[in-house]
Subunit: 162 residues, 2 copies
């Protein structure tokens, strides 16, 4: 009950850590240089904009984004401070609330997608054929044990989940 990982597994582990860090840093930098906020903001705005009436319970957002509760709470604080979302009270459960994306939030999300998608293409897309990207997905999925749905169509907007 103390089996050692194979050399190959260890190599894969190292690659996974290094490459993710590099690619993420590169994409975050591109976004920052274009004057945009961090990716986490985009993710939250995307989730909100996709929600039925542009609003979600914080606890939903938390589950979608796979980040801890306090982290969600503070992310919402920042979005609200910037006027990208508003907190609305939840009448059926007075402990809770709704967070609703504002028009300004929707605009930012759309503008960010331009820079974001360009960064994905630059740091991932153009380095892999579509077949290889699919292969990579398959291998990664095995590690993550299914991490969710396929990506969306036409408007196609991707959300990571740091």
């Amino acid at each position: 009950m103390k089996r050692k990982p194979s050399t190959e597994a260890t190599a894969a582990w190292i690659r996974l850590m290094r490459v993710q860090t590099r690619v993420l840093d590169a994409v975050e930098q591109d976004l920052k240089k274009a004057g945009f906020p961090p990716l986490a903001w985009y993710d939250a705005l995307l989730e909100l904009s996709r929600a039925p009436s542009g609003e979600l319970r914080p606890v939903e957002l938390e589950r979608q984004m796979l980040i801890p509760q306090y982290s969600t709470s503070r992310l919402i604080d920042r979005l609200v401070d910037e006027g990208l979302a508003v907190r609305r009270e939840c009448k059926v459960d007075k402990r809770g609330q709704f967070v609703e994306i504002t028009e300004s939030g929707r605009e930012l999300q759309k503008k960010m997608w331009g820079a974001y998608s360009a960064a994905i293409e630059k740091h991932v897309g153009c380095k892999l054929s579509e077949a290889d990207a699919t292969r990579l997905c398959g291998l990664l999925d095995r590690l993550g044990c299914s991490c969710g749905e396929m990506t969306s169509p036409a408007t196609g907007e991707g959300a990571p989940a740091r």
Copy 2:
């Protein structure tokens, strides 16, 4: 000059972010639960222990670990505080210094490798065949544009580079 990433590339991007986060968190948690310090400490100790006489210039460590200068400086502070390394003056360049691993540092590094390697096996190794691990390495390397050497032999100890 604004080509969009393919659906496949976007999916790969998302997987890369999510899976790395999950696997890293899982490994860090295992280490923490076993009462060990963070992975970054292990990486630093490993680099030091591999160095010719167990000592390196901070600037070397920085390059090995691919972390920023100030981060290295503070990591060394912590190692020194815990008695895992000592700072020694550098006579040939009075701006600089050497950081030398202590016996206690070497012991910790070895003990950590037990828990660390078990975690790699648990969260990566046992989910992929060796051939798949190799394929994954190949695909990831294409994104990172060569991220270094193969892993070490017998004593085999892996270092990421967050």
